[in-house]
Subunit: 295 residues, 3 copies
């Protein structure tokens, strides 16, 4: 089945310079801001409940990430999320480390009840735990039970490999059906679904899991791409933009890994090269490098 | 009109190693700390109201940045600011994103009422909004009305270009007159004023607006330079140090851009090279490269 | 006196991928996460009192750093620390800037009363202040009185030099005796002691004090190494792992400095190269490069 994809988003982001309101963790906030700038967007970080509604109102997209939830995170995310919903702005949600504590899980579930989410992005452990919490059903990995997360990394049984791909695809699709959101499950292979369509993205490289914030930075690119699809994009256009952004980030990772390897460098240089590649990416490079197939 | 500038500050900072107490945002805190270290200062980040007065008392300069205001930010900044005033320490203030929310605007205005500020640094949108809030007057950009910020970036009509330079110079000077502070408005061209003297700084490069924290890092250099002018520097000496620091940061940006372009790199490498240049800058390089003129 | 050291920890960390729960400052949190990943561990940052116990329970080691104490830091650290003690997990503690404010000092002292600490790591000023607070005794630097910190940096009289080495060794040993913890005092020379054994580590380079977070990143490596020694390591094994981690970080600094100097680069490149070296370090390189002697 052949795929028609609109690669021009790469350039559109740089033209439109969408403002992305980020309520995110303090560990990778700088990396997320730099990634959004590198792909062409304009980030603003603001998380005080007193100001988030106004900030969201000035923005083109809202990005929520529960990586380091604090005392006012839940209130801030819900206020900003409701404002985004009122204005029909896209909302990207990353349930970092869900399942690692009841507090984190409740924060995520409460948010999903209060706010309509456009895209959910996480690793296999995170998204399986979310699915279990929402539906009571286990799915994925060929296991009967959901394994606890290993910190913020996917557990081994939840790695997306050829032998786990089918069951994790089922889980990704089921989460989309349960939430009405586009879901993107990332790992060695990435899976994107809008409940009806499901695509596999075979870009990326192992080095991405050896730096912190690969997922958070991808969230930023997804936000910028989706904010540039409007106005009033179809569910398919959102799904396509999320998948394209995921492939773009993976491709930038591949290109960065090649450069870092040429100079026999490690993860410090890789991290620097990744941002380079995001800032240099153009439509032709993207077209020639992405590897997306229909599941 | 010829300018006599004391370039030796570059070396003085490395000799004196001034301690800079930073109450700043969590997005670029690490970048600010690294920049202060690179130019020769010693940063300490501390923002809990229970400890800020003591920390300020041990420091040579206070740097306040409202990039991500939290519940205790206002109290902490006002306590630290009053302690700095009591000890006649310089206070640098960056009203990041003022106007993006009423909460941020009130935080900035309250601070200006409670604390005597030595230097205010911001982009054209931020400083015009501040001027409007303080005086009720619009100035700059040839527009009648102050345009809302685009996130934390200056809006297009507020970019400092040849055609907006005159009116934005008027605004910078007016803000200095209204506050009694040295004001530094940064953009493609930078404008520094102490109300009586106004200088234009034509250093810098477009890449600086494609990484997060260019402004915050400049704040750190301004703080370190001013902290090294004492004891009891004149208003002109403070103004000169702020302008020189702005030119120095711009020059480091130019040199970093050249290096990054030579290797066909993007914003990740530029960011790394910028810090390199700040750490390598010496008096001769500064003397030969800065481009300051009297307005 | 010849030293028998188990260099295989370098590889063991990569094999075991220990999860390190970090309650740390927002300035260097990203650097600490990247360093832990680079040496083979898996970091999770979480500091809300509502979730820290559960996060610690899922982890292999707890890392506490009071670099930017907030309103809930003390409660979170004590809760997490008690959970770690209950499970016999190692606890690494970095009293950043202790003495710079009463609030910071009280936070550190309260933590030491409530939680059994495995390793304390700090510069000479920090550890001397801690010793003074705990025992009422001055020790180290040949001075009679403990000098106040210069921000978060050691004061000049507290630099570890050949002429201060003996008295600072006495202080390091005394702090270990007073706390029952392994203590690591870092500077131009590093001193590690478990009260009975004391080792000097002559790795490292001056550039490490020109980037922020060198100490915090070392804490992360110590945590990962100690978390890989178990189960139920002896006091000597813990001491050895802490000393080896300190030497490893110093060696990575030396190698990074060499690379940065070859390209005439500054602190930005050094920072990037340091992370590279941590990610590339193997047993043979470590064996050939570390410089540890018995005091």
């Amino acid at each position: 089945m052949s795929l028609k994809i609109n690669h021009s988003l790469t350039g559109l982001v740089r033209e439109k310079r969408p403002v992305i309101h980020c309520i995110t963790n303090y560990v990778t906030a700088g990396d997320v801001a730099n990634t959004i700038l590198a792909c062409g967007g304009s980030p603003i970080m603001a998380d005080h409940p007193e100001e988030v509604s106004e900030i969201t109102a000035l923005s083109d997209c809202l990005l929520l990430n529960i990586g380091t939830p604090g005392g006012t995170t839940k209130a801030a995310m819900e206020k900003a999320g409701r404002e985004a919903n009122r204005r029909s702005l896209p909302v990207i949600f990353d349930p970092v480390g869900i399942g690692a504590s009841r507090y984190r899980t409740e924060t995520a579930l409460s948010l999903l009840r209060e706010v309509k989410i456009t895209v959910i992005r996480g690793n296999a452990s995170e998204l399986r735990i979310l699915l279990k919490e929402l539906t009571g059903k286990n799915a994925g990995s060929g296991n009967d039970s959901v394994s606890p997360t290993r910190g913020v990394d996917a557990s081994f049984s939840d790695e997306i490999r050829e032998d786990t791909l089918e069951s994790l695809t089922v889980a990704t699709r089921a989460l989309s059906a349960a939430t009405g959101s586009v879901t993107v499950m990332t790992g060695a292979i990435d899976i994107a679904s809008n409940g009806e369509e499901t695509w596999l993205i075979r870009n990326g490289c192992p080095q991405m899991s050896r730096i912190t914030g690969s997922g958070c930075m991808l969230d930023g690119i997804i936000a910028a791409y989706i904010a540039s699809t409007g106005p009033a994009p179809s569910q398919h256009a959102i799904f396509e933009a999320a998948a394209l952004a995921t492939a773009a980030a993976g491709l930038c990772g591949e290109r960065a890994a090649k450069k870092a390897e040429q100079t026999l460098s490690g993860t410090g240089s890789f991290r620097c090269c990744f941002l380079d590649e995001v800032s240099l990416l153009d439509e032709d490079t993207l077209k020639g490098g992405i590897n997306i197939e229909v599941s």
